[in-house]
Symmetry: C2
Subunit: 401 residues, 2 copies
C-alpha cells in the first residue's frame, strides 16, 4: 500500500506480527521493566502469622471487660515478644504478653491493647480500656492470602512488584523474552565517529540515536551496524541476520532517488512490502515489509524524521512483539501555550515541551528539521491535515516521547 494514514500503518504492522514466544527465568532483582510470562500465585500468607500492628500487650478481650482509667484492670505480664520473636505459650485468662509492632501474637490472645492505654507495666500491667475481640489484631494473610494471584501473565513488573514478590520469598521470575533487534544504518556518506572524517562524509547520528532509545526501553539491539549504499551488501547482511532477530530497523534509502536503495534490497530479498509512505511529516517515506515472516521497518535517513517515525511506527511494533503495552506511544491532550502560525497542508508532528497539561515550544535557533531542535523536547504535537494555525489556548493532541 502507498500513502496511507498513520493509524492504518500501525494497524497493518501490528496485524502482521505476533508476540514473541520465548520466556526466560531471571533473578527478581533484574525483573524491573520485564513482562511476567505467567500468573504468579502467593506461595504463603502475608503476614505469615497473626501479628500485632502496634507496641502494646496481647491479651484476652474478656479480661478487659469494663476497664477504664477509673476502673483499672490488672493483668500478669508473662512474657515479652519483639518483632522477629515468638512464643510457644498459650495465653491464659488474667495474663498478658508485652508485644511489639510486627511480632507474632501468641495463641490464646485475641486482641492487643495499645501501650498508651496501659501503665507500661513490666511484671503486671494496668489496663485502662475495654477491648473487643480482635481489636488491633492483624490476621495472617490480611495483606496477601496464600494462593492469591499476585501477578498476572503479561504484567509489566515494577519495583513495587519486586518488593511484593520479595516479601513472598520469591527470588526468581519467569518473564517474556525481549525482542532481538537488528539496527542497520545505511548511507555511503555515513561514517562511524572515531575515524577521520573523509571529504563528503558525515558522522553518524542515527545509530547512536536509535540504539540509545532502544536501550532506554530495555531493548538493546543485538546487531547495530552502519552499511553503505550497496543493495547487494545490505540484502546479504539482512539475510544473514534475519534468523537471529525478531525485528530489523533500517534508516536511509527509502525515498525515490538513484541511491534510495532499500527498494532494491527488498526486491533482491523477495521481501513482501506491506506499505510505503505514510501521510505525515517528517519521515513520509517510511516503509514496512516482511521477510521470512520477520518485520523490517525502514525509516528515513534524516535523524529528526528517523526519530519521529521510530516513535510513531516503531514503538507499536515493539509493543506488540514484546507484549509490553507501555511501549505504545502515549497520546494525551494538552493546551497550547504558544502560537504555531504555519499552515499544515499535510498532517505533521512538531516537537515541543509538555509540562502539567501545557505545551510550549523550546527556543531554538536550529531549524525545525534538525536533531538539535529535539533536545529537551518531550512530546510531538499532532498537527492535523489542513490546520491553519495553532493558537494559545487550543486543546491539542500530543504524543509523549
Amino acid at each position: 500500500m502507498l500513502n496511507i494514514e498513520l493509524e492504518k500503518a500501525v494497524e497493518l504492522m501490528v496485524k502482521s506480527i505476533e508476540e514473541i514466544k520465548e520466556t526466560e527465568e531471571i533473578e527478581l532483582i533484574e525483573a524491573c521493566g520485564r513482562i511476567s510470562a505467567e500468573d504468579i500465585y502467593a506461595p504463603m500468607n502475608n503476614p505469615p502469622f497473626d501479628r500485632s500492628p502496634l507496641d502494646g500487650y496481647a491479651l484476652i478481650a474478656e479480661d478487659t471487660k469494663g476497664a477504664s482509667r477509673k476502673n483499672i484492670k490488672k493483668l500478669t505480664v508473662v512474657e515479652c515478644i519483639f518483632a522477629g520473636g515468638y512464643s510457644e505459650r498459650v495465653l491464659k485468662k488474667g495474663e498478658a504478653v508485652r508485644i511489639m509492632t510486627g511480632a507474632k501474637i501468641p495463641k490464646g490472645a485475641n486482641c492487643v491493647i495499645r501501650q498508651e492505654n496501659t501503665n507500661y507495666g513490666e511484671d503486671e500491667v494496668e489496663i485502662y480500656e475495654e477491648l473487643r475481640e480482635y481489636s488491633n489484631y492483624c490476621f495472617a494473610g490480611e495483606d496477601i492470602k496464600k494462593e492469591d494471584v499476585l501477578i498476572k501473565k503479561g504484567q509489566l513488573l515494577t519495583y513495587v512488584h519486586q518488593g511484593m514478590l520479595s516479601s513472598m520469598g520469591i527470588l526468581k521470575v519467569k518473564v517474556k523474552g525481549t525482542p532481538r533487534i537488528g539496527l542497520i544504518v545505511t548511507g555511503d556518506e555515513v561514517e562511524i565517529p572515531g575515524q577521520q572524517l573523509k571529504m563528503g562524509k558525515i558522522y553518524d547520528s542515527n545509530l547512536h540515536l536509535l540504539y540509545s532509545r532502544l536501550k532506554e526501553f530495555g531493548l538493546k539491539p543485538i546487531i547495530a551496524e552502519i552499511i553503505g549504499d550497496s543493495a547487494e551488501r545490505i540484502g546479504e547482511r539482512i539475510s544473514e541476520i534475519i534468523q537471529d532477530v525478531d525485528l530489523i530497523i533500517t534508516t536511509g534509502g527509502v525515498s525515490v532517488g538513484q541511491k534510495d536503495i532499500l527498494h532494491n534490497v527488498l526486491e533482491l530479498l523477495n521481501a513482501n512490502r506491506i506499505f510505503w509512505k505514510v501521510n505525515l511529516k517528517p519521515g513520509t517515506p517510511a516503509m514496512y515489509s516482511l521477510y521470512k515472516n520477520k518485520p523490517i521497518l525502514s525509516l528515513s535517513g534524516n535523524p529528526f524524521a528517523a526519530l519521529t517515525t521510530f516513535e510513531l511506527l516503531g514503538r507499536p511494533v515493539l509493543a506488540k512483539l514484546s507484549g509490553n503495552k507501555n511501549l505504545q506511544p502515549k497520546q494525551v491532550n494538552g493546551i497550547m501555550e504558544d502560537e504555531f502560525n504555519k499552515p499544515s497542508m499535510r498532517r505533521r508532528f512538531i516537537r515541543a515541551y509538555f509540562d502539567n497539561g501545557k505545551v510550549r515550544f523550546l527556543e531554538s535557533k536550529h531549524s525545525s528539521g534538525m536533531l538539535a531542535s529535539m533536545a529537551g523536547c518531550n512530546c510531538l504535537i499532532d498537527v492535523h491535515k489542513g490546520t491553519k494555525k495553532l493558537s494559545k489556548g487550543d486543546n491539542i493532541n500530543i504524543v509523549l516521547i
Copy 2:
C-alpha cells in the same frame, strides 16, 4: 527539629548537602541519563560542507535566467556526485553536476535545481525553471556551527544528545559521578528471601523495593544489606561504610518503641539529627541526620510508608547530590475521577492512577497501607490537612511516581 512540614524537611535536607564533585569520562553510548560535567562545544560544522538538500543538479544560478518549461535552458552535465562522494572540480558557466541528497556541492555552483524541474538528462540537462543564488543550497554549519555550545554543564544527557554528539564525531563525554548510596534495612524480623522463613519472621520487601527504584534512576546502591535490631551493630556498619558513600538510606526503627533503635544508633555515632517526624502520612517518623557531613535518611519500616517517603524526601536529596533536577518529585495537577470520602485530619498521600489529566483509584482488595495496593499506581494524591473529602471533578495536586 520535630514534627515539621514536608517542604521544610526538604529545605533542611537540600541545604545540608552539596552536589558531589566527582566526574568521570565515559563512552558516549553509555551517557544516556547522565549529567554533563562540562560545556561541550561543537568541534566542527554540521553539515561539515555545503550540501544538496535534494536530488537534482548543482549549477550556477545565472545560467537559469529566464528558464521555464517554455523557455528551456540546456547545460552540460560534467559529473555525478552521490552522497558521500565529492568532486575537486570548479564548475564553469554552462555546466551542471548531477547531485544527490546530502552530497557536497562542488565549487563554483551556487544553487541546486530539483530533478523534477529538469529532464533528468545524463550528458545534457534541460532546465525548466529560473533559480536564485543559493536556492536549495544547504550551507556548512547550517545545523550546528563550529564552536557552538552543544551541551551545557549540568545538562541531563538523552538519546537526542547522544545522536547530536555522535554527528560531531564525539565518542567520549565527561559526566558527573553518580551518588554512592548505602541501603540498610533494619529489623530482627526481616529475613532475606531464599532462606527458610523462621517462626515470627517475615521476608524483606524494602531492600528489593528501594534497590530497584534506585536502579531505575541509574543509582544502583553500592551497599545493600539487611541488619537486625542491634544499635551497636548498625552503628558499627554505618561508621565502616560512611567514607565510601554519599548517602545512607535506612528503613525501620524510627518510631518510638523499645526496638526503634535508629535513635540509639545516631546517639552512638554522635550524629547530628536534623529532623525527626514529618507532618504527613504514611511515614511520619522519617528522620534525617548528618554523620561526618554525610546525610542519613531514615525511613519507616512499613513498605508503603518507606516507598512514599523515599519519593517525597529521598528524591530531593538524590537530585541535589547528583545535580540531576529530573530526580525531583514531579508535581502536577489532576482532576479527580473518583470520590475519596475519608476526612484527613493530617496531610496524607494516597496512591492513585493518573492518566491524561485525570486521577482515579485502582480497584484493590488490599488495605491502603499495603504495598500490594501500590501496584499499578503512578501517583500520590497530596491530600491537604483538614480536607473533608475529595469529590469527582476536584482539581488536586499530585506527585508523579
